[in-house]
Symmetry: C2
Subunit: 352 residues, 2 copies
DNA sequence: CTGAAAGCGCTTACAG
DNA sequence: CTGAAAGCGCTTACAG
């Protein structure tokens, strides 16, 4: 007769109703250990009558293994972040774990959240926002949890990172522009110090440099459509001699805003070719028809899942101790790069 | 020396290092009970050295109160659903609970997920997808958990539902069209039997009927931009006498696709006025400038939070038993309707 | 096939 | 201020 959660029955209550020991109730639900089919039926019936089902917390405690995975995420703004989370939730659901979400309002919070996540003794943690400090990464790995970083470094040799090959995307964009004979290159970058956008910009710049060209970079704190529009205005104000003829936007939001800002002032792709990154749904809409890169979400998820499985946390809660270096299907690669896929539309590249 | 989770220390290990009883370790971390400041310091240091922090599962078990809230969600497709989840995660984080997510691939799964959710003995469950069966709703409430349904019925007198006032939105849209002298009305509806879209359509139809007009309805299974485009084609194929002069799309995705489909064939709003629903970011983009309704997300969250607080699950884990009918600030209203806000842009309404 | 008992890792009265 | 003990709700050897 505990005072809190008065409505909640326990396995003892069920045992009483079914006229069996409490242990049998447990067996009826776990399927472990012998139990007569008819007893089991009786117990199931009693449980339903009482409205009871095993307490997952208690189960996790006693088995020493909670079917949880911590997911660090942040604001789901207009962005491919929602797609990632959606796909991630689905995958986690499919392998019968429960995602415990940690929402970081800013990158600074991520470390604290990671610490909190640890206290739930989850199977592991998937980081889709912010930065993983090396200490923290080590603490997670030491506890036997897996650590997966999406589109960011894992900062630990036993951590795992799946990322789009951002530099390659940049190089491909530059390559396409060069092939078309474009010479005056501009990239719409992200904030200083950002990971993915900077790598995209660098890949682009490098390829340009190798062709003996220089790519200007305009950094943007927000990477929003507004930022893209602002860049368009800035471009329109440039003297004719400095006008770029090819622009690589390190994300689609900026590219779309940029297109809107240029509308009526420049002919695309004749005056200016444009390539974005992300392949947002809007990139395919008639007013935009943006040539852009699709991030290989499905492949990334496959790799992620493969890693987690190898780690020993297979579908049905395998053991957690895998000391021996058995990295079979995923041979020791801790940083997986997945190739972005160029989607050619109107704003750059030959349209078929 | 348990075999599993070998890396994980317990409070006993910390006690040993700090040379105190295990109970004191607990006190050092909970802050409950007397403890000498210097002992506390010593324990904290020992814990850090050992790399230990309280096991949240164990704590939840013994206190009989897990700081969890179950959230039922589904595919985060291009949609306001991501916004809702984002805002929800933030709110849950702010009141120091952890969201345990349940991802429903289809509405049919929702009931099963709800059952699973129950096993975690969470404070409550927030449903943002699918339908809550009455039985299940009752089971949840009986267990002392709160039940909040977002934009759908809670199906229980003690459940709580926050929704946009969808019929009102429909009425407002119709009102605006009528005021402009439009007479040939069409609504782009959702799937048969959908909740929110149907209510929007009904509100619209009713208002039209009251004005002695009939509104045609075209149902759409997908409510996507593609569906909107298809509707545009269908409209263009209509004989001139049946051409509508005002269209109410029950979501923005369809409205945007519809605009794209009409582009070059009809003049908006001269030939056809259009109103959407959701106020997606793209509704404000130059090629669209869609008049639409903003769903009052912030207000909905405020009401939701107020309900949960009243329910007794305040910020820092208050007691769960609140039998007395103390519905102070939220006087007994179980279904809260929040007014949608008309955002007037180019496609309908007088622009200032 | 079934039951009594130990134990998971904590928190919290209850004594000192 | 501190410690020994009981107990949270289960699962799982271990005996019968």
């Amino acid at each position: 007769m505990s005072r809190r959660k008065s409505g909640t029955a326990t396995s003892h209550d069920v045992a009483r109703v079914a006229n069996v020991s409490q242990a049998l109730v447990s067996r009826a639900f776990t399927g472990n250990g012998r139990i007569a089919p008819e007893t089991r039926e009786r117990i199931l019936k009693a449980a339903e009558q009482v409205g009871w089902q095993p307490n997952a917390l208690a189960r996790s405690m006693v088995t020493g293994d909670a079917p949880l995975v911590a997911v660090i995420t942040t604001r789901l703004n207009f962005d491919w972040r929602a797609q990632v989370l959606s796909r991630l939730l689905k995958a986690i659901q499919e392998w019968h774990l429960k995602p415990l979400l940690f929402y970081a309002e800013s990158d600074a919070e991520v470390d604290r959240l990671l610490e909190e996540a640890l206290s739930w003794r989850a199977r592991g943690v998937i980081v889709t926002a912010g930065v993983v400090r090396e200490n923290r990464a080590a603490a997670i790995i030491e506890k036997g949890q897996f650590l997966v970083a999406l589109n960011r470094p894992a900062n630990h040799e036993k951590g795992f990172s799946v990322a789009t090959d951002n530099p390659l995307g940049g190089r491909m964009a530059a390559g396409l522009f060069l092939e078309e004979g474009r010479r005056r290159l501009l990239v719409l970058g992200g904030p200083q110090g950002s990971w993915a956008p900077s790598l995209r910009a660098e890949g682009f710049s490098e390829a340009a440099r190798e062709a003996g060209l220089h790519a200007a970079i305009w950094n943007n704190d927000a990477m929003s459509t507004e930022a893209g529009r602002a860049c368009a205005e800035r471009l329109l104000a440039l003297p004719g001699s400095e006008q770029p003829d090819a622009v690589f936007a390190t994300n689609d939001a900026m590219a779309l805003g940029f297109l809107d800002g240029l509308r009526g002032h420049r002919s695309i792709p004749d005056d200016i070719a444009l390539i974005g990154f992300d392949n947002l749904p809007a990139a395919d809409w008639p007013p935009y028809r943006l040539t852009t890169f699709e991030q290989p979400l499905e492949e990334m998820m496959r790799r992620l899942i493969a890693h987690v499985d190898v780690h020993g946390d297979g579908h049905l809660g395998g053991q957690t101790d895998d000391q021996q270096p058995q990295e079979e299907s995923e041979p020791r690669a801790r940083l997986i790069h997945c190739k972005p896929k160029l989607i050619t539309r109107m704003t750059a590249g030959k349209t078929e």
